[in-house]
């Protein structure tokens, strides 16, 4: 089944923006899309998968090593690298699904059973974390994920590598991925430690506007009746987005962040009492990625304004008796602190 084109998604600007930002700068640290059922969370992520630019990988490497980062190479590639230049090929960055029913050994990798059985050979079979390296790891219904899997993810996401010590195997490989989780808060809240791992969070709402709803239904309908023809109609717009991402990736390092913007960001975090430095760092990274995406060479308050709710919404200290929506609290602080 073909994916619904990313650029054909009606509304959901925050969600689309958050996903694009992590596509530009994976260090932002993932997106959590929490909200209404049937509002198109999964659709957006599948759509994004279809338009990620290709990346350079070492040909034949099971861990998709980056030939341009000699420090992060796996053991095999290091050996190969010493014996001459590595073969490089272009590959599409992957969006790997972590199904709810996954077992630990498939997530981190385990002894290759077939090899072991047929040849009596001890060999590591990479798991989902290896496959998601340099791409996206997507967990639908992330709030229903088993605790022991959450622990594995937290560990890998924090260290950027996957360490396997089991069945006599001792393997260590890089596992840097953008964690994308979606879910409905009515099924259960997310564990705070995991919540903190997500760089950005989006509050997804079903549109109330009748016009917008009609447009959603129309496009969805057209897509379901003839996915191929529909994809063709949107191909150009999708390619434009893909080029935008690729260009932003190239220019990201050159985007400047003026001191006054940094100061405003700091005062915003203080005003909100957002825990720790993570929020501030994420916010600045996201603002820079947004500036790159829009073709600017420096971050302005405009970008800050747009990314602040994404970066801070889930980091506010929770007062259980305060029912004000966290997004609204951020918006209020943004208005106060960033007033011109």
């Amino acid at each position: 089944m073909a994916a619904f084109p990313f650029s054909a998604i009606v509304g959901q600007d925050e969600l689309k923006r958050a996903l694009l930002l992590t596509a530009v700068d994976p260090h932002i640290g993932g997106v959590l899309a929490f909200g209404d059922r049937g509002a198109g969370k999964t659709t957006a992520i599948r759509g994004l998968a279809a338009l990620l630019p290709k990346i350079d990988v070492v040909a034949g490497c099971a861990f998709r090593c980056d030939p341009l980062a000699p420090n992060g190479l796996c053991a095999d590639c290091q050996t190969a690298g010493k014996n001459g230049a590595l073969n490089v090929k272009k590959e599409t960055a992957s969006v790997v699904d972590l199904p709810l029913g996954a077992t630990e050994d498939r997530v981190v990798g385990a002894l290759d059973l077939e090899r072991a059985l047929v040849k009596g050979e001890k060999r590591f079979e990479p798991g989902l974390l290896a496959r998601a390296h340099r791409g996206f790891l997507y967990i639908d219904e992330v709030n229903l994920l088993d605790d022991h899997l959450v622990d594995l993810l937290l560990d890998a996401a924090a260290s950027g590598e996957n360490v396997v010590e089991r069945e006599g195997l001792s393997v260590r490989h890089a596992a840097r991925f953008v964690l994308v989780g979606s879910g409905n808060p009515e099924e259960g809240e997310l564990r705070p430690q995991l919540l903190d791992r997500f760089g950005l969070s989006v509050d997804v709402r079903t549109p109330d506007d009748i016009g917008e709803r009609i447009e959603v239904v129309r496009r969805r309908d057209a897509f379901e009746r003839d996915p191929a023809a529909f994809a063709k109609t949107w191909k150009r717009k999708d390619s434009a987005v893909r080029r935008k991402i690729a260009k932003a990736r190239d220019t990201l390092e050159t985007v400047e962040t003026p001191d006054d913007v940094l100061q405003k960001a700091a005062s915003l975090c203080i005003a909100l009492g957002a825990d720790g430095l993570r929020g501030e760092l994420t916010m600045m990274r996201a603002a820079r990625a947004l500036a790159a995406l829009e073709g600017r060479d420096r971050v302005t308050l405009k970008e800050l304004r747009l990314v602040a709710p994404l970066a801070l919404r889930h980091r506010l200290r929770k007062d259980p008796l305060d029912e004000t929506d966290a997004g609204a609290r951020v918006a209020r602080a943004v208005d106060e602190v960033l007033a011109p």
């Binding site: 089944m1 209404d36 059922r37 049937g38 198109g40 999964t42 699904d97 972590l98 199904p99 709810l100 029913g101 996954a102 077992t103 630990e104 050994d105 498939r106 997530v107 385990a110 002894l111 290759d112 059973l113 077939e114 072991a116 059985l117 047929v118 009596g120 001890k122 079979e125 798991g127 639908d140 219904e141 229903l144 088993d146 022991h148 069945e167 006599g168 409905n184 808060p185 009515e186 099924e187 259960g188 809240e189 564990r191 705070p192 079903t206 109330d208 009748i210 016009g211 709803r213 009609i214 959603v216 239904v217 129309r218 969805r220 309908d221 379901e224 009746r225 929770k318 259980p320 008796l321």
Partner: protein, 598 residues
Amino acid sequence: MTAMGAMPTAEPQDGHELIAAGERQWKDAQMAAALLAVDPIGLGGVRIRSAPGPVRDRSAEQFLALLPADAPVRKLPVGADRDRIIGGLDLAATLNAGRPVAEKGLLAEADGGVLIAPMAERMAPASAGLIAGAMDAGFVAIERSGVSRRDETQFCCVLYDEGMDGLEAPPQILLERVAFHIDLNGVSTRDASPSDISAKTISAARQRLASIDCPDAILEAMTSAGAALGVHSLRALMFAIGAARAGAALAGRDEVSQSDAETACCLVFGPRAAPDMAPPETAPPPDQQRGERDEADMSTEQGDQDQAMEDMLVATARAAALGWLLEKPAAGLRRRRAAGAGGKSGALVESTWKGRPVGARSGLPRDGARLDLPATLRAAAPWRNMRGGDDRSVHLPIYKNDLRIKRFKARSETLVIFAVDASGSSAMHRMAEAKGAVELLLADCYSRRDHVALIAFRGEKADLLLPPTRSLTRVRRTLSALPGGGGTPLAAGIAAAAVLAETEKRKGKTPFVVILSDGRGNIALSGEADRAAAQSDAILAGRRLRESGSTVLFFDTGKRPSPQAQALSGALGARYTPLPYADSKMVSQSVKQVIAAG
């Protein structure tokens, strides 16, 4: 279901003759079955609320008869484990072949056909998540135990909802993904007439389905009607349009007509309509939306026609909603349940072998312990060459000490049931504190495995205001407006807590019951205002709760500790705490301590 006898027949709408409720329910079920048979995948499936019995069986038979003869039908056993649902390692084949051989799961086997889930109201959230994931993606991904594969599958999901009294319902995540919600409770076998639609008609309609157009005016009217009925989900809207299209195909039309749209709105929006949107006299069509429509560049005349159509759709769907609204959860825990009817369905969950697997340890698969095949093979594999030499005819020698058994960790989820006295003048205050305590418990990160539920008793009965949840969002939404005042049906409140505690215990949770009351009941279980009977009933209900084995905390909210409250607390075997000044922090603290003490 006790409420059914009282269900009034909905007001006859234009074009509908007055027919009995049971007959109409059956007709709706038949219509839903026909539409679903035309587009089984696109419409997702159906939830059938009914006790098991001949009526439900006949309904299922009629539906299955409309499907292609080769469509597989798979039944999801209650409590099926993940390996069976999504697939895993085929033990026999693996040993035979000497390499891991994957086995398809039920979801993959149901490809192109139907998955029937009996007792869907008891389905574990994890299983529901797997099914929903497969329905969304169109495939099942198996990532477990040395097997990594992907099976394409598309199926139609039939959820049998045997929940009673609104205490239990199938997981929301699945209810959201099936187009139709059908109620067969109260339908007698006499109502269950044969179907006049043949499989041939359906098959012809299925061929036509792709070419059916849906005119913009109808699309817009249906969108507005959905919004006017408070049906928020876009998925429901897509289902309604899909159902209308299937209806047009069934009738042999080239495009969706207004009557197709009406039928679809009835079946899809009706059961989903928001409570405050449904009673015809209290919900005028929202003017605001109409205002927006007028701004659109359609001509006034056209606009009027569209508005008329929208109104028509809303009216018909509302009529269909009536039956469901009476049945909405929190309609009250009936006295019948308090008399001791519980405990007949399902045995207590054994926790020695059930729960989530947490790995393997060496041991023999006996006494109910289950063999962990991959782990066993892994243990044996490295020794292969030493043990079997180069003889390739011996696949893999397995010695006794290679055997590994699965370790399970039973879920230690707790459920805190608040039973709150919402009667009398101080009700609002008490309820507010209870709500605060619920929120504090949930917000505390250490207690994220805790579920909470809230029962309020006042007037003549007890209501389950908040079914077990661990979602703060849901608590806020549900408890934003709390009822209060009236008599004190203390016994009904305690009985309701006992029933809920038993139900949840059977699902493997550990219930704790927190009662906030001054212990002065004045409404007996019979509903009569008789203080003496009320008190003895309360003690009786208290014993029942005690027998359920739950830990009970009794907070005496009276101005000074009362002997009645202490007597009741004794009958409950409860920890008694006087709490003259209600305080949510103190309540949540005490509960946490008790949970921590186990």
